[in-house]
């Protein structure tokens, strides 16, 4: 049955442009059977309805395409409106990366609008975006994770460099640096806005490798092939990841990665355990670090580039079917209900005037 799907793209985030690529790809894939609209969340926090057949280049000088501004309505028949007319969608496919599109902010808005949407719900989105909370959660559950310290000029660091410095929030490699000593770390964070919300450091493991794996829970729990990105520079840099190869999908990689069974089984057992704490919704990409014999869970990307559709050669499913699973998952679930039980007016009736409460 054909569905009416709105793909949300953009967002005021450093991964705004990458999100456009993910969203346009998704729109193209789904338009095979479904009715697709694009909801564009601009860098300056405005919303527009766009033609799903646009090319990424059309966004470079975007004035020409921003003809249909959208209004948000919270009261009554809540939702997105174009010139007083409600835009009816069955479901929203969230293709935003980084920033408020991935950190729980957009998810909260969609909850208030009482609509169905794909990908992480509010709290998992927040946990996956907060590197320090994610780290402490993993540690508490005995999962292998590299020690992290919050960077704070008032406290002494508990381990020796070189360090990897990362902004505490944000999923991209922007602001990720290898730094020799703590004094340099402090100097870098004080001179850049990227770390204004906080920063974390961990030990830099020079010879470690990234190991990526996709996870989905609908219609049943599945793991993708394991990917090993091929890096040339010290870190898997932003330019390497996105700019050189026209998006994540074109990057160099080993897929499926050559990993011995023993390590593979360990990774799978970690994924299962994490998935029971922070359940995947849509497709999450788990990023591990492999350092000789040691495996560490690095982070979870709750809305990975290209929705990580390229990882699933092991499941005999087309990209359309994979995206369709994400959409069906969102449609199959009821919108969260809020209960007002307990607020039956009794407290209001028995209360005296407000002033007396202040006394």
């Amino acid at each position: 049955m054909s569905k009416n799907i709105a793909v949300i793209i953009g967002g005021p985030s450093s991964e705004h442009d990458i999100s456009i690529l993910t969203g346009l790809q998704s729109a193209r894939i789904l338009s095979k059977d479904d009715k697709i609209s694009i909801l564009y969340w601009s860098k300056d926090n405005n919303w527009y309805l766009l033609d799903p057949n646009l090319e990424s280049k059309d966004f470079i000088d975007d004035e020409k395409i921003l003809k249909k501004p959208i209004e948000l309505r919270v009261n009554g028949d809540s939702g997105f409106y174009l010139k007083k007319k409600k835009l009816d969608f069955d479901v929203f496919l969230n293709s935003c990366h980084g920033g408020p599109g991935e950190d729980g902010t957009l998810q909260s808005l969609l909850e208030i609008l009482r609509v169905k949407y794909t990908g992480p719900k509010v709290v998992p989105a927040q946990i996956c975006m907060d590197k320090y909370v994610f780290y402490t959660t993993m540690k508490e559950k005995g999962l292998p994770v590299l020690h992290k310290d919050l960077v704070n000029s008032k406290e002494k660091v508990t381990f020796q460099g070189p360090y990897i410095l990362k902004p505490r929030f944000g999923g991209s490699s922007i602001g990720v640096e290898v730094v020799n000593d703590y004094e340099s770390v402090l100097k870098i964070i004080e001179s850049s806005e990227l770390y204004a919300q906080g920063a974390v450091i961990e030990k830099y493991l020079e010879n470690s490798e990234d190991i990526l794996i996709g996870v989905k829970n609908y219609p049943s729990f599945n793991l993708s092939e394991i990917e090993k990105p091929i890096k040339n520079e010290t870190l898997f840099s932003y330019s390497e990841k996105y700019l050189k190869n026209g998006g994540l999908e074109g990057s160099k990689r080993e897929l499926p990665a050559k990993i011995d069974e023993d390590k593979k089984n360990k990774i799978i057992s970690y994924v299962e355990k994490i998935n029971s704490i922070i359940p995947t919704r849509g497709i999450f990409r788990y990023d591990f670090l492999l350092d000789n014999e040691d495996i560490y869970i690095n982070e979870i990307n709750a809305i990975p580039g290209s929705h990580a559709l390229y990882l699933w050669q092991n499941l005999n499913k087309s990209k359309y079917e994979l995206l369709n699973d994400i959409v069906d998952e969102a449609l199959s679930e009821e919108i969260n209900t809020w209960t007002t039980t307990g607020s039956d007016g009794l407290a209001l009736k028995s209360a005296k005037d407000i002033q007396s409460k202040l006394g």
């Binding site: 290898v178 730094v179 850049s192 010290t234």
Partner: protein, 236 residues
């Protein structure tokens, strides 16, 4: 390679050794990251020049010679070879007059000043003359410069704009004959920013130099042709 704050407390460098042998100096508007593929193959230090990358802006504008003096005091004594790309190459030449190095490697460096477009220059001089007679305002001149100045000029303001002007005006052509250090010149065959002809002319002026031309490459080839540059450096 890892970033490290140097002893001045405001300049960063990408280092992989406490006793680096090679020091890399990047071009205008760039950073040590340009050398990331090359520098890791050597015991080296790649500077974020003051005003670029992670390093603080200098307190006052600096000419390339002043950059050279500043950096000579800042980098470890163990450095034997300087590698400068573009603007960094200019600094390397000045550094070779302050301290003796085994070799300097200059990649697409503006060693000889080209004449700016004469028509624009004529108009600017006319404007300046009219300005001196109070016939047009400082603002108009600034507007004109913003409209017709180079991309680099438009992209910077304040101290770094003055630094750029000093850099562009710094003409090394008289100095080249006096360079006593061995020079390795590397040029992209199709460099449109600092054309190959400048490298060829410099090669005739320098006492002891060799020019390596990288086929089909332009001005910024440090990442795309890192292999070839590493080979040249390994031969030193």
């Amino acid at each position: 390679m890892a970033l490290q704050l140097l002893k001045d407390g405001k300049t960063f460098a990408d280092v992989n050794s406490e006793k680096p042998k090679i020091c890399f100096l990047h071009g205008w508007g760039r950073s040590s990251d340009d050398f990331s593929k090359i520098s890791k193959k050597f015991e080296s230090i790649a500077i974020d020049l003051p005003g670029f990358g992670k390093s603080e802006e200098p307190e006052n504008s600096m000419n390339p010679k002043e950059y050279a003096e500043y950096l000579t005091n800042l980098i470890p004594d163990t450095v034997e070879v300087l590698v400068g790309h573009s603007f960094g190459g200019k600094i390397a030449v000045h550094m070779s007059f302050i301290k003796k190095y085994k070799k300097i490697v200059l990649i697409g460096a503006p060693l000889i000043r080209k004449n700016p477009q004469t028509s624009l220059n004529f108009r600017l001089n006319l404007y300046k003359f009219l300005n001196s007679l109070n016939l047009i305002s400082d603002k108009t001149i600034e507007k004109y410069k913003n409209k017709y100045g180079s991309e680099d000029y438009k992209n910077v303001a304040g101290i770094m704009r003055d630094t750029l002007v000093k850099t562009v005006n710094d003409d090394l052509s008289q100095l080249l004959e006096k360079v006593n250090t061995k020079v390795e010149l590397i040029w992209g065959e199709r460099d449109t920013v600092i054309p190959l002809s400048i490298g060829e002319e410099a090669n005739t002026k320098l006492k002891e130099s060799k020019l390596t031309i990288i086929k089909n490459e332009g001005h910024n080839m440090l990442k795309s042709k890192s292999g070839q540059i590493i080979r040249v450096l390994k031969e030193l």
